[in-house]
């Protein structure tokens, strides 16, 4: 994997620039919006004096650039402010909801890739047959269905009618209490394994299946369709025909050689989709009462909780940068001609 130091340094500088830019823009936008967040901070039935005090406390009485400088000072000391809605530090809030979301979408995307890529290969081999058509129908329908609708249907069928799996929250409260489960990384599946707490592990696994299935639907269709398209292209190339002529078994030609040629673009688009889903999982999180970052960001926006909004936007920006870097690194690992 030829990743040079210059490349990583370049990416790091880019990341810092992106963070500053995003901070600046979101800060300005949140302050320009005509809303009065001090009312939220002061609480219901507040007197005018209390509201004025809240304004001062939140620095809302100062000019915007002073507010920005004050915010930056705090920010670089690791203090992303206090959420005006939950009154706990934004960084803590964002991190705990981020891990909840990441746990969900990592499982969803792993599931999508493991099923989607082989299905795409299969459709490419069986091109223009009924199998190919069936895969096409499934993937087009799957990519077009709105996730919140799919979420409701899945919840109804598997949760309510069949009663097979829980359809809300990350884990049952009583299991946590009974077994004395503690959070370490914030990823429940990992934490429970570290503690050898199999009850929580099984329970959170049960909870994650339905929302992960729903979230997987789009990347699954995307990867299946992309793999099929790329594979059909690769299979017409001379190097595949030469391997056939030299008598290598079809299985090796397809899964060892050709698949590698198709993966780079598939990984790139899946990576972008992953970055988008961090916030975009909001609909699914809402339906399945999953305390993720999409959910948190939506609540923050609705209640003019500016520090929380900025924190969410920032996290997403950082993740986009990291994911793009990762996609580049994976690409260079797959293709020896790409040097970073």
């Amino acid at each position: 994997m030829p990743v040079s130091k210059e490349y990583l340094v370049k990416r790091l500088i880019l990341l810092i620039l992106v963070v500053l830019g995003v901070l600046f823009i979101t800060f300005i936008i949140t302050r320009i919006v005509p809303a009065r967040p001090e009312l939220l901070w002061a609480g219901p039935h507040a007197t005018i004096e209390q509201i004025d005090k809240a304004r001062k406390q939140l620095h809302l009485d100062k000019p915007i650039y002073i507010q920005f400088i004050l915010y930056l000072q705090d920010f670089f000391q690791g203090n992303w402010g206090v959420s005006w809605r939950t009154r706990s530090p934004v960084l803590v809030d964002v991190m705990s909801s981020l891990t909840a979301t990441l746990e969900l979408i990592i499982i969803a995307f792993a599931f999508a890739l493991i099923i989607g890529v082989p299905l795409g290969v299969f459709a490419a081999i069986k091109k223009y047959t009924w199998i190919d058509d069936l895969v096409k129908i499934i993937t087009v329908v799957g990519a077009s269905i709105p996730v919140f609708w799919l979420a409701l249907i899945i919840q109804l069928v598997f949760g309510t009618w069949l009663g097979m799996l829980p359809s809300a929250k990350r884990v049952d409260e009583w299991v946590v209490i009974v077994t004395g489960f503690r959070q370490i990384t914030g990823f429940y599946l990992i934490d429970s394994l570290i503690q050898g707490n199999y009850m929580v592990f099984i329970d959170s696994l049960k909870h994650i299946i339905l929302p992960a299935m729903v979230l997987a639907s789009y990347p699954f269709c995307l990867s299946a369709r992309m793999t099929r398209a790329m594979m059909m292209e690769v299979l017409t190339e001379q190097h595949v025909r030469s391997l056939t002529a030299w008598g290598l078994p079809q299985r090796i030609i397809l899964f060892k050689y050709s698949l590698k040629n198709t993966l780079a673009p598939v990984i790139a688009s899946i990576g972008l989709s992953f970055g988008y889903t961090i916030i975009g999982a909001f609909m699914v999180e809402l339906v399945f009462v999953w305390p993720g970052i999409g959910f948190y960001a939506a609540m923050a926006l609705l209640s003019f909780d500016y520090p929380a909004v900025i924190g969410c936007v920032l996290i997403v920006a950082i993740f986009y940068c990291v994911i793009n870097t990762l996609v580049d690194v994976i690409h260079s690992a797959l293709d020896p001609r790409v040097k970073l």
Binding site: S242, A245, W246, G247, I252
Partner: protein
């Protein structure tokens, strides 16, 4: 030389399915290759020469359909389903563009190892690698270990073609098909690769089908030359016989197209017209619309390929009456 035939192609016809119809790329082609012989298949682009080679190697693209014919190699028809999978290590092929022949994402050592593993049933990694390095040495590649661990983009065109030849010969084949193996290379390299192929052919006792559009190259290396035009076989003769006494007007035209340095000043000749439409081939002689000696009969009746003299066959009406 003429012991017994190793490969016999009988009445081979191949179509390509394309948008809006089919191209009759190869029509009723028959010929034979004897053991230890080098046969050159000569023709311009679109003459069907590569298609014949690919059909023998079992490497036709997906849109090709074999309409009729048999390809009999060492007594077995390769076009029958059960022999199809077994022939590959006896007939191997070298392609035109060495850079496109190899997958850019894999080390060349990986590819040759897989070919060796598949055909020679060698299990031990060490032995496979040993055999691969031995093949690289045989094709006179410098520093075989470095080559083994190189990706295609790290090697030059000439080296890549040597690697491809090493891969093709690693299965100990009886016959090698070389599909314009030097067309994409520099002129200086062309001679090297051709010399290499000929010396390997002698060393290993191979039969070889060499496909080229260059009659000059063909005359240097071939025992026998077969000329194809528009998907049909039009002339076949011993190499020296064909060069000294080309019969078919097309072959004569090709001869005149070879640039010569000893003639002081002359315009380089060319054959007027373009290659025939393969979707609707002419009813009569396929060359009749470009031929300078065309007769009425040529436009109506397709001339069959007939023996003109010993070791010389031609498909042309000019020579029909003479023989009768």
């Amino acid at each position: 030389m003429k012991n017994h035939s190793i490969l016999r192609v009988e009445d081979l016809s191949i179509d390509y399915i394309v948008l809006g119809g089919s191209l009759k790329a190869v029509r009723n082609v028959s010929f034979e290759i004897y053991e230890g012989e080098v046969v050159c298949l000569v023709g311009e682009s679109g003459s069907g020469k590569s298609t014949v080679g690919l059909a023998i190697a079992g490497a036709l693209p997906e849109n090709a359909i074999i309409r009729s014919g048999r390809i009999i190699f060492m007594g077995k028809n390769l076009l029958e389903a059960e022999t199809r999978n077994k022939k590959v290590n006896n007939i191997m092929i070298v392609f035109q563009d060495p850079a496109a022949t190899l997958n850019p994402l894999f080390k060349v050592g990986e590819v040759i190892s897989d070919v060796i593993k598949t055909h020679l049933q060698i299990k031990e990694r060490e032995k496979i690698k040993e055999k691969a390095l031995e093949m690289f040495r045989m094709v006179e590649l410098p520093d075989p270990t470095r080559i083994y661990n190189s990706y295609p983009h790290e090697l030059s065109g000439g080296m890549l073609q040597r690697v491809v030849i090493a891969i093709a010969l690693s299965t100990n084949p009886r016959m090698l098909i070389a599909d314009e193996p030097t067309t994409m290379l520099d002129v200086t390299l062309q001679a090297q690769i051709i010399d290499l192929l000929l010396s390997l052919k002698r060393k290993l006792g191979l039969s070889m089908l060499f496909i080229t559009h260059n009659l000059g190259v063909a005359s240097e290396i071939a025992d026998r030359i077969i000329v194809m035009y528009g998907g049909e076989l039009i002339e076949e003769a011993n190499s020296s016989e064909l060069i000294n006494n080309p019969l078919h007007p097309y072959t004569r035209g090709l001869m005149e197209c070879i640039p010569r340095t000893h003639i002081k000043y002359s315009k380089l000749k060319h054959i007027p017209g373009t290659i025939p439409d393969l979707a609707n081939p002419l009813k009569g002689c396929i060359f009749s619309d470009r031929c300078s000696e065309v007769m009425d009969v040529c436009r109506v009746v397709k001339p069959p390929i007939k023996e003109y003299s010993r070791n010389h066959k031609v498909a042309c009406h000019l020579y029909m009456e003479e023989k009768q």
